[in-house]
Every structure is written in C-alpha cells, then in structure tokens.
C-alpha cells in the first residue's frame, strides 16, 4: 500500500488542480449562491468535468469507465475540495456510481453506469431520516404490491435530490427501525408519482433536499442488491463515499491553511508581521501537524480501497479513522481560519466563510466524528 502518489496520480492531481483554479474557483460557488441558481451547480463546468473523464474515474472499463481506481477519484476530489466546487461529483459519482457498481446486477450496471460516465444521468442517495446520520435507523417502508413495491416515508439531507434523475432509496422491507436486517435499496425515477422533493437551502450553498414518499410504486427490477439484505452492501458503499468525502475535506482544509499562512506573512501589527508572534506560530505549527496526519489518513484509506486484499472490515476501520480525523481537523482549521484572519475572516467578501460553512456540512454528512469514533471502537471490539 503506497502512501505517496504514483506518477499517474500526481499528473491527474496537477491537471485537476489546474482545471479547478482556472475554471471553478470559489467565486463560482459565490455566484451560484448570490444568483439563487435553480440548479445549484454550473452545468458548463460539470460538462467539462465529464469531458475530463472524472465521472468514470473509478468505474470499470466494461461499463464505459476508466478504471483509474479510487486513488484517482480521491486526488480529483481533493482538488474540487480545495476550490469548493459545487458539482454532482459526490452525489452521482462517489455515491451513485459506486452504489450501482457495487450492488447492481449486470443489467442495471450496463444501463446506468455508461450514462453516468457520459454525464447523462444524475443520482442522489436518499438515506438519512433524522438529524444525525444513522444508516440502520430506517423507517421508510417498501411494501410488496402487485408487480413491485410501494414506498412510504420521508428522507432528509439528500444531497442533490432536486436535480437527480434517479434516486437511490434506502427503505425497510422487513424488521424494525434500527435493525440492520430488512433493509433494501431501490432505484426510483425522480419523476415517479407520489414523490415530492423539496430543495433545502443549506449553509454551504450546495444542493440538499427533503423528500416525501407517498405510495410511490416501483417495479420489482428496481431493487438494487438483495431484498432485506441491503445493509452490508450499503455500508461498504458508504465507506467508499466517506473516504472520498474525507479526500474532499483534505483539499478544503489545505486551502484554508494556505490562506492563513499567507495572511500571517503579510499582515502587520505593532510594527511587525503577525506571523512572528509565537502565539500564532505554535497554533499554525499544530495545524500543520494535524493536516499532515489527515493527508496520511486519506492516502492510506484510498490505497486501501484500491487494494484487493483488504477486507470489508479493514476498509470500514480505515473509513471511520479517516472520516473521524478529518471531521475533527476540518473543524479546527475552519475555526482558526476565521480567528487568525481577524475581522477580515468575518466578512462575506472574503472566502474563508464559505469554508467554515462547508466544513460543518461535510463534518456531519455520512457521519460526524463521534459517530465514527463509536463505530471505530465497535469495529475494534471495545
């Protein structure tokens, strides 16, 4: 398991960095926010990302992808994170394509994956039902009806729900809320009758939504994975997404830290650069150390995903380590990002505010630090 980037990964990272800086800097997100953009992402930029092949990064060649591994997708996400690029890459590529690739049958993969690679299909994962992440606490039901299932219930914090063509819905087909048994996943057309999707305007200016299911009838062949036995597969999809999200967070926190360093080196007070004050130097040095640990955690976890010898339990441990650590450190760095920029950090005109807003959403999404520490302890038998 290599913890340094391969030559190919480094090239990809450089080109992603270049692309994001040139075409998708934070000012794009600011514009989407200020214009109250209906889509919540820039279609032209997304098309260019598709052309660069980013949607097919981790998808096998058999389904139109480029088989470049999660290590490849990870470095791209690090760069989109650095620039806070608002795009469907998390919802459709990291979550959607991964779920279909991991859990889908041959027909589903043949039909949907090439469309994702080509940018013709957007997906959203409808999972959480409560204010905090808990993938087994599913009350939304899917009851058997003639020719399929009928879905009832509600979902919240559904990333890109209002722009998706297909929803991947986690529903209960048996057992009680809280049980890991009796969970099934369905591919649901976003235009299906009985479905009501409400966009929610979140603090990070990215797309989220609440979704109601009122007798939404889907055919039997929309089942993604096995009936009643969906949890384990879902969890491994979530682990991949948690690691990818950690990579995105790594990029974001590095951007904040670089901004802090730059400020410390040019802001003068009391006749000297404030970067010469030990009170600030030590905080910067500690942040640097924590970010180095984050980098290693993300690299190790991505390398684990691309290593065929890793078991699901080992991946789960890596995912929870990475998501817990990155959530903690992004919290720290985003707070220091405001404090160390002083009054400037409080102004909307300055970008650091976008990062602290994104930090809190990313921290919670797919499980916050305490969720993952608890999971890590359980995985380690204590």
């Amino acid at each position: 398991m290599a913890l340094v980037l391969s030559e190919d990964q480094q090239l990809l990272k450089d080109s992603a960095k270049n692309f994001c800086e040139q075409n998708a800097p934070v000012s794009v997100l600011r514009r989407l926010r200020d214009n109250k953009d209906e889509q919540g992402y820039d279609q032209a930029i997304w098309s260019q990302m598709i052309e660069l092949g980013w949607a097919g990064m981790a998808i096998p060649e058999a389904y139109g992808g480029f088989d470049f591994g999660y290590g490849g997708l990870g470095v791209v996400l690090e760069e989109t994170g650095r620039n806070l690029v608002s795009s469907p890459i998390i919802s459709t590529v990291l979550l959607g394509a991964t779920a279909i690739n991991e859990l889908g049958n041959e027909a589903q993969k043949q039909e949907l994956l090439p469309k994702i690679v080509a940018g013709e299909l957007l997906t959203a994962l409808a999972l959480d039902e409560h204010t905090s992440h808990n993938p087994s606490k599913i009350a939304t039901t899917a009851t058997k009806v003639d020719g399929g299932f009928s879905l009832n219930g509600s979902k919240t914090f559904v990333l890109d729900g209002h722009i998706a063509n297909v929803l991947i819905v986690v529903a209960r087909t048996s057992k009680e809320t809280g049980s890991e048994q009796g969970i099934s996943l369905f591919l649901v057309d976003a235009k299906a009758e009985g479905l009501s999707i409400t966009r929610t305007i979140m603090v990070d200016s990215r797309n989220s939504s609440n979704i109601q299911f009122n007798n939404v009838v889907v055919a039997t062949d929309t089942l993604l994975g096995e009936l009643d036995q969906g949890f384990s597969g879902l969890d491994s999809v979530l682990d991949i997404a948690r690691i990818g999200l950690a990579a995105e967070m790594l990029g974001s926190m590095q951007a904040v830290f670089e901004s802090i360093l730059e400020f410390l080196k040019q802001r003068e007070q009391f006749g000297v650069l404030i970067g010469s004050f030990q009170g600030l130097q030590h905080r910067a040095a500690e942040m640097y150390s924590e970010i180095e640990l984050c980098k290693s955690a993300v690299r190790a976890a991505l390398a684990g995903l691309d290593d065929p010898d890793q078991t699901q339990a080992e991946i789960a441990e890596l995912a929870s380590m990475a998501k817990a650590k990155l959530s903690e450190v992004f919290f720290l760095v985003s707070n220091e990002g405001i404090q160390m920029h002083g009054g400037l950090g409080m102004t909307d005109e300055f970008d650091v505010g976008f990062f602290i807003k994104r930090a809190r959403v990313a921290q919670q999404f797919l499980g916050d630090a305490s969720f993952h520490r608890d999971r890590y302890a359980t995985l380690n038998g204590f």
Binding site: V272, S276, Y288, S289, L293, M321, K325, S370, D374, F382
Partner: protein
C-alpha cells in the same frame, strides 16, 4: 544481483536458524541490551543474538560494510525490518551510537574516525552518551559554555553537562564544546568525541520523579582529549549538532509510533492494549462500559493510526531524498504527545491500581506502569521541547518570520 524476493527468502531462513526462541518475545526492561565495555546480558540468549546479528552487520543494516555495517540498500533494509517484525524479534542492541552518533559520523567524520568508531558501535562494544545540555543551556542549547582549548596536539576540556543519559554507564561521549568565545554563539561550537575513562571526568546521577536515574550531571576538570577526535571542522560543530538532533527526534518519535502500531509505547510496558486493559479492570466483556473513556481511547487510537501512516509516508518520501528533514520535528512533537496521552489513558484505564509506588498490593506490571507514566512526561522535554519543535516547524517548514532572530543578534 540478488532480487528482493530472494533476499527476503534468505533473510527469513537465516532468522529462523539464528534468532533464539527467547528473543522472539516482547522485550522486558531488564533485558534491554545496551552493550559497552561492561555489557550486561540478563538473558544469555541476548548475547548470542547480538553476536550473530552484529557479524552480519545487521544491527546497522544500511551502514557500509567497510565500517562493519550490513551494506544493505533501503529496500533491503525495509525487508529485513519486516522479517524481524514478522517473528517479533527483539532489537539486539539499543544504542545512542546507532541511533544518533553513527549517522552523523558517516556524514561528517573522516575515514579514520569512521574506521575507528563505527565497527565498535555495530558490535555494541562501546556504549555512547550525549554531552549536549548544560545547567545554563537547555532549550537555548547554543549558549553552551563548556570550554575546549587547544594545547599542542590535544584539547583541554573544562565545564559541565547535565541530563547526560547514562553517563555513569557510558564508555565514550560525543560532546558539544565551545572553541571560540568571541564570535556569535552558533559559530564557536565544535563537536568532539572522548573516552569517559579519561582523567578529570566525574558523573553524578539525577533522581527523577519516576524514581529512576537514567540521567547524570557530568563534570570535566582539565580533561585531555586528542585533537584528532574533533569531528568535522573547528567551530562548525553546530551544523553537526543540529543534524544529530534530527536523528534523535526521529528516534524519539518512534515512541509514539510503537504506541500506534502495537500499543507497546516505549517498548517496555508489559501491559499492552489500552482498550483490553480498561475492559479487564472494569470487568467488561464486549464493550467498554465507561463511554467517555471509550471515546477518548478511540480518539487516541485513531490519532495513533494516522500517526503511524504519517511515519510510513515520511519514510517513503525520504526514499528518494536523504535522511530526516524538518518534518522530523513534527514527528517528534506529535509522537511524544501521543505517548504521553497513551500513558494518561492507561492510568485512567487501571484506576487506583495504577497509583501504587512500591510494595504489596500491586503487580510488577502495575508498578512499572506508574513509573513509566511519570517517565513519559520527559518525552516532550528531551531532544528539544515540544515548544522548540513547534518553533522549528513554524520557521523551517512554514516559513514564518523568525521570532528569535532579534535575540540571536
């Protein structure tokens, strides 16, 4: 040329035949081998293990074979490390000669000095101590004032050192001395080696809060040292001194690493896993019943994991480059803080059984843990305090303006 795979196979079978069974168990404090003229081998197998390993130069695998080292390249050395770890082999020799002096002698020593000193380090024949800190020079090490005056073909040394680890047991010392008092403090320091049996040297152990006395005060009273023992150029010892500190930091950061990898922190504690220990002392079977401690242990272990990955990454990154660099300060600082956290958590895990000092009512392991907890407090002071490491990171890695530049002028 032998392939790496062949090397691995040969190494594995050699280790199978040559590593004594008792050397494949966790190290215990009393059996650590420090070597030297008065070497002690509490376990006779230790001596056999040291001899066999030293014969191949594998106590210092990457040192050139002309100086007694193993002559291995970095990849082979990694394989050797992996194979040693595979059978849980104990380190045959713990030595400041290996971890600190050797690497700088290879870089700055002349051929004669290398030929004279390095093979003895490889074989564990000479035990070294470090003459750095002085009563008035702690974090501000470069203010040191132990004096060395050239008198014909020898230096006359006068002054004193403090916190000299095992000075009372060491055979030789690598020492920082002031050879010029009339220049800025960094420019008048030299690096010199001498025999602790020389006339005029005395040592006095310092008792620590942990009850043990690993450190000494060391006094030099007209000690005569051959001029040829000066390493590198006169008055340019500070460069060597800093380089050696990087190696020292790398060594100390390993304490945190071992906590990350095996929870053995500092390699001596016989009480191993933090979470198992906590559960054992509480009578918990499948889940640690104290939710706060459970969360703190999880947090610690996650940090230790991420730290272990960082150490590995740093090794991979330096493979192309040279030895340790400024990131050694980061690793030293984080590793030490982790090790201290580990001992605090261990103390919490064991409760009142971790608070015994001596006598009845406590197991040997429990008493040892208490002492190790106290000893761990020094981790963030020795080898440069955590605060100094943070200064180094701020200045050398982050390029922030130097707060000390005024003070040094």
């Amino acid at each position: 040329m032998q392939s790496l795979q062949e090397f691995r196979e040969d190494t594995r079978s050699w280790l199978e035949q040559n590593c004594p069974e008792s050397m494949r168990t966790a190290m215990v404090q009393e059996e650590i081998v420090w070597g030297g003229r008065n070497a002690e081998f509490a376990n006779p197998d230790s001596e056999i293990w040291l001899q066999r390993l030293a014969e191949k130069g594998w106590t210092c695998p990457t040192w050139p074979s002309e100086y007694g080292g193993g002559g291995l390249d970095k990849d082979q050395a990694i394989v050797l490390g992996e194979e040693l770890a595979r059978i849980n082999a104990r380190p045959a020799l713990t030595s400041f000669g290996i971890s600190m002096l050797g690497p700088v002698l290879l870089e700055y020593g002349n051929h004669q000095q290398k030929l004279e000193q390095l093979p003895k380090i490889v074989r564990g024949e000479i035990r070294w101590c470090q003459g750095y800190s002085e009563p008035g020079s702690g974090s501000d090490l470069a203010s040191l004032s132990t004096k060395a005056e050239l008198q014909g073909d020898y230096y006359l040394i006068n002054g004193s050192k403090v916190w000299t680890s095992y000075a009372d047991k060491a055979d030789w010392i690598f020492c920082l001395v002031r050879t010029d008092f009339d220049v800025p403090k960094h420019s008048g320091i030299s690096f010199i080696l001498f025999d602790m049996a020389s006339e005029g040297i005395s040592t006095k152990p310092i008792q620590l809060i942990s009850g043990s006395s690993p450190f000494c005060e060391t006094f030099f009273d007209d000690v005569k040292v051959p001029a040829s023992n000066l390493v590198g150029r006169l008055n340019e010892g500070w460069t060597i001194a800093k380089r050696l500190l990087q190696h020292e930091r790398t060594m100390i950061s390993g304490f945190g690493l071992s906590a990350g990898q095996s929870d053995n922190g500092g390699t001596t504690s016989t009480i191993s896993s933090l979470e198992r220990t906590a559960m054992h002392y509480r009578g918990d079977s499948d889940k640690l019943s104290d939710p706060v401690l459970r969360d703190q242990i999880a947090r610690f272990k996650i940090d230790a994991d991420a730290f272990a990955h960082t150490s590995r990454r740093s090794v991979e990154e330096s493979k192309q480059g040279q030895g340790p660099n400024a990131t050694s300060s980061m690793l030293k600082n984080y590793g030490c803080e982790l090790n201290k956290r580990r001992y605090e958590l261990m103390l919490q895990a064991i409760g009142s059984q971790g608070l015994g000092w001596e006598g009845e009512g406590f197991s040997d392991e429990e008493l040892q843990l208490t002492r190790e907890w106290l000893r761990s407090k020094a981790n963030s002071i020795e080898g440069g305090t955590s605060e100094v490491q943070l200064n180094v990171i701020a200045k050398r890695v982050l390029g922030l303006p130097d707060i000390l530049s005024l003070a040094q002028k």
